[in-house]
Amino acid sequence: MKKKIATVSLAGCFGCHMSLLDIDERILDLLKVAEFDKTPLNDLKKFTTRCDIGLVEGGCCNEENVHTLQEFRKNCDVLVAVGACAIMGGLPVMRNAIMNAVDPLRECLEEAYMNSSSVYNSTNDIPNDPALPLILDKVYNCSEVVKIDYQIPGCPPSGDTLWQTLNALIRGVPADLPYELIRYD
């Protein structure tokens, strides 16, 4: 039985997914022992089956992120937070710094869409299409929302790191992550 893998990018930049593609031709070896279910790599929007491994990039900044993450938790046996954003919030979490303002969320939106020096917005509208998911009061990392089994740090973790991680998870052995793969200086 091939192992089933699902991946998703929440409030991330897809850098971790790019990094996953850095395993290069080894992806052929991977597909001998595993197959992808819901993932942006094959554009499957919904889970078709229960998965063994879920890789999550990015934290939660809106309700859709939360919902997706909860779906991943429900449908994956092992959930791995990949990269700085999933583990600690990463760059998006910088907006949490204004949480002590009187009206933090409004301040955040106004800064992003109206006040910032690089913004040109002649109508001063803040996007509010009903199709847009509501944003959360602050950015949450994955482990604040659901239980996370493993965390792979890095911004992004290298292709080799992800390769070793997937290998270990598929074979059910401890990951061999030498110092060179998890140092960031």
Binding site: E63, E64, V66, R73, I135, L136
Partner: protein, 609 residues
């Protein structure tokens, strides 16, 4: 040039190591140390503004913004909280028309909370400028506030006088000593004056240290390092100067025994310091007194003056040719961390009270790089008694590894809070009985950085081999919330962490977040493992004693109150975090977007207006 700044600098001879004193004078003269004043000071003292600003922001008794002419500081210790300080605060706030933490528009009053001021036996209490007011009630607070409004002077606040030396001219405070049990070493009546010093002067330096070592005296501040060994190390160093520092920065919440010793055994303490000076060959001593005890300063100066006059300080002390020693008093400025010896030394040097790297230990390189011994007030008092009574007498009291008696500051839910001088090895339950605690459920021993124990551990003995303490002994009855107390201690440590090292600055915040999660009933068992793991990391990787001990209330409460923690944690099966509340997280957004959630609201399409 501002005359206050000029005078302050001149008073301390433009000495860079006395900046703390200079800043105190400027603060009290101008009510604040503004940016402009900092510039001036930096120029006068040939330093940089950032150095001065670093000090002003570090010590809580200095402020950049103007403080009121009458600064009311309410003690926010856990004991005071349980004794109802919040009601007192409300009365002050209402009567004076200012919020907590604010200064009145006319600049006359400021009102704020401050950590433990060393009056837990007479809580709730407050500092009004330097005047201590104790046993406050909403009624007495109202009287005080109205009196101050009529006449903003602190001199008329004393409605009653304290006992013992508290009533004397130089102290003149309403503080009570509350000495409940007098032991045979420190608090007994009729201690022969200067007997220890006289005997020490007849003997060789080595023999004095030998006597202290043989007595088994260990540091009374809490760490319990062998006093004789410390003195010996300092003596063996080759150096031009050596320093004796007495640590009276009694900041551990719930401790007030040094306050009583400073008041009632002042000469004994100075005698002990003089003996130490003789033993290690020191000419200069410093008594570091916490800012909260400023009301004792005139008295301490008075005693020092008398001792100089009697030839017990200065040159040729007690007729001993060539033995010169004198003591100066250094006032702190409100920083718990300064009770830690290397931080205390930093503070004496006029720096931010940040700990130093060890090694070298202070006994090798301490104050200004010279060998320095730092001992607690009680330790020096014991040393003086040992030289008089002899090592065998002292070693005969207490247990094998903890010789002598210990002063306990008992406070909290008991009928007779106060000072108990008991031999080491006494059981917790015996102390509780003496203090008249009729429903004891929780005992916090050793202050915020000590251990929290429950009824199953009341048979434990107070001594270095079992339950060590620097003197704090807080008792709580069964109506008190264990986690509320732990939460308070973490709040305290977050406030008092000097911020130098990350494990302590950040770790304590994370500990508190997790404790609050447990308190709110949203935690799982995994959170307890997280707490234990994080506690161990903080203790192992912090730079000084604060971080080495701050997680102890967490660890000891988990060990001693497993049922409390178990009843507040649950196992969740859906893999979600109970502490994450999507509805709360969306509240703001719904309001701003004026629409409901497509995912998390049952009916979509209706506006929230």
């Amino acid at each position: 040039m501002n005359p206050v700044v000029y005078k302050a600098c001149r008073d301390f001879d433009y000495d860079g190591t006395r900046v703390l004193d200079i800043l105190r004078e400027v603060q009290s003269g101008l009510g604040c140390i503004s940016g402009e004043t900092m510039e001036m000071l930096a120029k006068e003292l040939s330093t940089h503004r950032v150095e001065i600003e670093g000090l002003v922001s570090f010590y809580s008794f200095f402020s950049e913004k103007p403080k009121g002419k009458i600064a009311i500081r309410l003690c926010d210790d856990i004991i005071d909280r349980f004794a109802g300080v919040s009601k007192v605060a409300k009365v002050f706030s209402d009567e004076l028309g200012i919020e907590m933490g604010k200064t009145s528009p006319d600049g006359i009053f400021s009102l704020e909370y401050t950590p433990c001021i060393g009056m837990s036996d007479q809580a709730p209490s407050a500092l009004i400028n330097q005047t201590v007011v104790t046993k406050l009630t909403p009624q007495s607070a109202r009287t005080i506030a109205r009196k101050l409004k009529k006449n903003p002077e602190t001199s008329e606040l004393l409605t009653r006088k304290g006992d013992g030396n508290n009533a004397c001219l130089q102290i003149n405070a309403m503080v009570k000593n509350n000495i409940r049990v007098r032991g045979e070493v420190l608090l007994c009546e009729g201690i022969p004056a200067e007997a220890g010093l006289k005997k020490a002067l007849k003997r060789k330096e080595d023999a004095v240290i030998q006597e202290i070592r043989a007595s088994g005296l260990r540091g009374r501040g809490g760490a319990g390092f062998s006093t004789g060994l410390k003195w010996d190390l300092a003596r063996r160093e080759t150096a031009r100067e050596r320093y004796v520092i007495c640590n009276a920065d009694e900041g551990e919440p719930g401790t007030f025994k040094d306050r009583v010793l400073l008041t009632e055994r002042t000469d004994l303490m100075f005698e002990g310091m003089t003996i130490a000076a003789r033993a290690i060959g020191s000419r200069k001593g410093i008594l570091y007194v916490r800012a909260e005890y400023t009301y004792l300063l005139p008295y301490l100066e008075h005693v020092l003056k008398k001792r100089r006059k009697r030839g017990l300080l200065g040159r040729n002390i007690a007729g001993k040719k060539g033995f010169a020693f004198d003591i100066r008093i250094q006032l702190g400025a409100g920083a718990y961390i300064c009770g830690e010896e290397s931080s205390l030394i930093s503070s004496c040097e006029g720096l931010r009270g940040e700990p130093k790297n060890r090694p070298p230990f202070p006994a090798e390189k301490g104050f200004l790089g010279y060998p320095t011994i730092v001992n607690n007030v009680e330790t020096f008092c014991c040393a003086a008694r040992i030289l008089d009574g002899g090592a065998p007498w002292f070693a005969g009291i207490g247990t094998d590894e903890s010789a002598g008696t210990k002063l306990l500051s008992v406070a909290g839910d008991c009928a007779r809070p106060g000072i108990y001088e008991v031999p080491f090895g006494i059981e917790v339950s015996e102390v509780l009985d003496m203090a008249g605690a009729d429903d004891p459920a929780i005992v916090q021993i050793g202050g915020a950085s000590g251990d929290m124990i429950g009824r199953t551990a009341f048979h434990k003995k107070i001594c270095y081999e079992d339950l060590p303490t620097g003197g704090s002994f807080m008792t709580f009855n069964s109506t008190r919330n264990v986690l509320g107390i732990v939460d308070y201690f973490l709040e305290f440590f977050i406030h008092e962490s000097c911020g130098y090292c990350t494990p302590c600055r950040v770790g304590n915040v994370f500990l508190r977040e997790r404790i609050q999660k447990i308190k709110s009933g949203l935690a799982e068992e995994a959170d307890l493992h997280y707490l234990i793991e994080l506690s161990n990391t903080i203790m192992m990787t912090s730079r000084c004693g604060l971080g080495h001990t701050s997680p102890r209330p967490v660890l000891s409460s988990i060990a001693h109150f497993p049922i409390v923690y178990a009843s507040l944690t649950r196992e969740l099966t859906d893999g979600r975090q109970a502490s994450f509340d999507i509805q709360k997280a969306l509240e703001e957004s719904r309001r701003i977007a004026k629409r409901q959630s497509m995912i998390y609201d049952p009916i979509y399409g209706e506006s929230t207006d």
